[in-house]
């Protein structure tokens, strides 16, 4: 609970973070930056959980616990994604999105 800042501001922030992440996901040409965008999306959700927990339902820590798990999962996800990207790099010597368009239609 932060004085002078209502839940709306923070939720707006998290929404902005979410959509920045989404925008980044759509437009980045490098797989690593796409991965970073995903982090933004996950963080937006984590932020939401914490804020909602704090502002609306401070009695239980469900949201906060959830956010911790989100962080952990995000880390696992990122690690795995990086591993796969590295493998791709080994094969095509590139981490560009345009090099992942072989499978289509």
């Amino acid at each position: 609970m932060i004085e002078g800042i209502s839940i709306y501001e923070i939720l707006t922030l998290s929404s902005i973070v979410f959509f920045v992440g989404v925008y980044g996901f759509f437009t980045r040409e490098n797989l690593i930056t796409v991965l970073m965008s995903i982090e933004l999306i996950l963080n937006a959700s984590a932020l939401n959980f914490v804020i909602i927990n704090t502002y609306l339902y401070p009695d239980f820590l469900q949201g906060a616990v959830f956010s911790i798990f989100i962080i952990a999962m995000a880390a696992a996800e990122t690690a795995l994604a990086i591993a796969i990207i590295i493998n791709l790099y080994k094969l095509v010597a590139s981490v560009e999105v345009k090099d992942t368009e072989k499978l289509k239609y």
Partner: protein, 476 residues
């Protein structure tokens, strides 16, 4: 908490034991005998599967985070059988391709972990457990998709899968956070009591739904499906299309009919729209596919659209038909993928054109394929017909005749492309047809089990009746 309540997690514990045992074997087994790990894994998993059929009490532990009931037992066993068939079908591939790289144990560990994640996901009693289960089910599969590290396709598919699924789970989480905002709880039971219809809760539902729809590959959340199936090893494509999708359907069903019950007027509409879009788009894309894996990917998208018909009937009829159809679908699709696997393994060919004249050289394989495809197309007396017919019945019971009409039209379209494969195998004659080959016993057993499932589940009505008798159990 006592031992007995832990035993409610028998499936999970059993599977964990299998995983750990495999690690032990991996450590202590002589390098020369690494091949036998496959046999060991299969034996262990078979034992696990058989144990799964033993009766088990209902109950919930961890303060309602983990629930279990007769329906889930049944479904976990179904998943087990599916995975077992899958293992049998991929044993040869593992022996020939993976053992050399010394990666076979990882394969099993990852696969079983994913299955473990699914157990938890469908048994979850709150969104946290659900989320953990979902991720546990997804992440190992991502690794498996990219398992053929020397293949660009595999890596590309892995990238696409992990990034798309991360986006999906991010979106789902946002949805869950909205639901949490409106209700103040993440427990299913508690949320069901306080959830009301509001803009935020609906928005939350839609975001959450899109996350699960991604797993089931419903249109428009399906785009990853075909690319990933094509790039992934066939066993993994098969796993994604049957086991992973089946589990996701069940949890979607549980959540929609319990937690989201207050939002039913909304989600019925969503399901209605998505169902039509999924059937049409899946079918229309499947029409022109030449690669068998891609073909089956779109076909499985279309099948998912049919499954949604069962959601429209908010009663035992609906639940039963969904589960029944998923069970049938698992067997049918495994049959089809198994044949693709066998042929790919023997010849490396995966295109429909390569199948021309197959019946004349490999009649048994072609027959299994025909059974599987006709079952998918819904031709009596194969199981798929009964599954589809009952799904239509479920939708029609609520008066959705128009939707049923659209569905049957789509079933006809789908028949067209299934017949294309039949045409290649049976009708065409080909000088350069795939020559006769004899599959390994595991593969043959796997295909046999799938065929039996296809033939028996439909006509043998006690199976349906059993599912009917337990299908209500998730509600309490």
């Amino acid at each position: 908490m006592n031992l007995e309540s832990f035993l409610l997690m028998r499936y999970e514990i059993g599977l964990l034991a299998v995983i750990l045992l495999l690690i032990v074997f991996e450590i202590f087994l002589n390098k020369k005998h690494k091949g036998s790990l496959i046999d060991i894994a299969i034996v262990l998993f078979t034992i696990h599967t058989i144990i799964g059929f033993l009766p088990l009490a209902d109950g919930s532990i961890f303060g309602g985070m983990f629930k279990t009931n007769a329906l889930l037992h049944f479904f976990k066993s179904t998943l087990n059988v599916g995975v077992l068939i899958l293992l049998l079908q991929s044993a040869d591939w593992l022996k020939e391709k993976v053992v050399q790289q010394n990666k076979s144990t990882e394969f099993f560990i990852l696969l079983f972990s994913s299955l473990l994640g699914m157990y938890y996901m469908i048994s979850s009693g709150d969104f946290l457990m659900f989320y953990i289960g979902l991720e546990l089910a997804t992440l190992p599969v991502a690794a498996l998709v990219a398992y053929e590290t020397f293949k660009q396709d595999s890596a590309e598919a892995g990238v696409k899968f992990i990034l798309s699924s991360a986006l999906a789970s991010g979106t789902a989480l946002l949805g869950v956070s909205f639901l949490y905002a409106t209700t103040g709880t993440i427990y299913f039971d508690a949320m069901a009591e306080v959830l009301t219809m509001s803009n935020l809760s609906i928005l939350g539902f839609i975001f959450f739904f899109s996350g699960l729809a991604f797993k089931i590959s419903l249109v428009p959340f399906h785009f990853w499906t075909a690319d990933v199936y094509e790039g992934a090893p066939i066993s993994i494509a098969s796993f994604l299309s049957v086991i992973s999708k089946g589990a996701a359907v069940i949890i979607l069903m549980i959540i929609l009919f319990t937690v989201m019950k207050p939002l039913m007027p909304v989600w019925i509409k969503v399901i209605y729209m998505v169902s039509i879009a999924t059937m049409f788009l899946g079918n229309i894309f499947a029409l022109r596919q030449k690669n068998m894996k891609r073909f089956l990917a779109y076909s499985s998208i279309a099948q998912a659209g049919f499954i949604l018909l069962g959601f429209l009937s908010n009663d035992q009829l609906g639940y039963t038909t969904i589960i029944y159809f998923v069970a049938i679908y698992i067997f049918s699709n495994l049959g089809a993928f198994g044949v693709v696997q066998a042929i790919s393994l023997a010849t490396g060919k995966e295109n429909m054109d390569d199948y021309e004249g197959l019946y004349r050289t490999n009649p048994k394989l072609s027959l299994v394929m025909m059974l599987a495809l006709f079952s998918l197309a819904g031709i009596p007396p194969l199981a798929g017909f009964f599954g589809k017919f009952f799904l239509y019945t479920a939708a029609a019971s609520q008066g959705y005749y128009l939707l049923v009409f659209i569905a049957v039209v789509n079933a006809t379209i789908s028949l067209y492309y299934y017949l294309l494969v039949i045409r290649a195998m049976f009708l065409r004659k080909n000088e350069n047809a795939i020559p006769f080959f004899k599959s390994q016993p595991y593969m043959r057993l796997g295909l046999l089990l799938a065929s039996i499932g296809i033939l028996v589940i439909g006509m043998y009505s006690p199976i349906y009746e059993y599912i009917y008798s337990i299908s209500n159990s998730f509600l309490n």
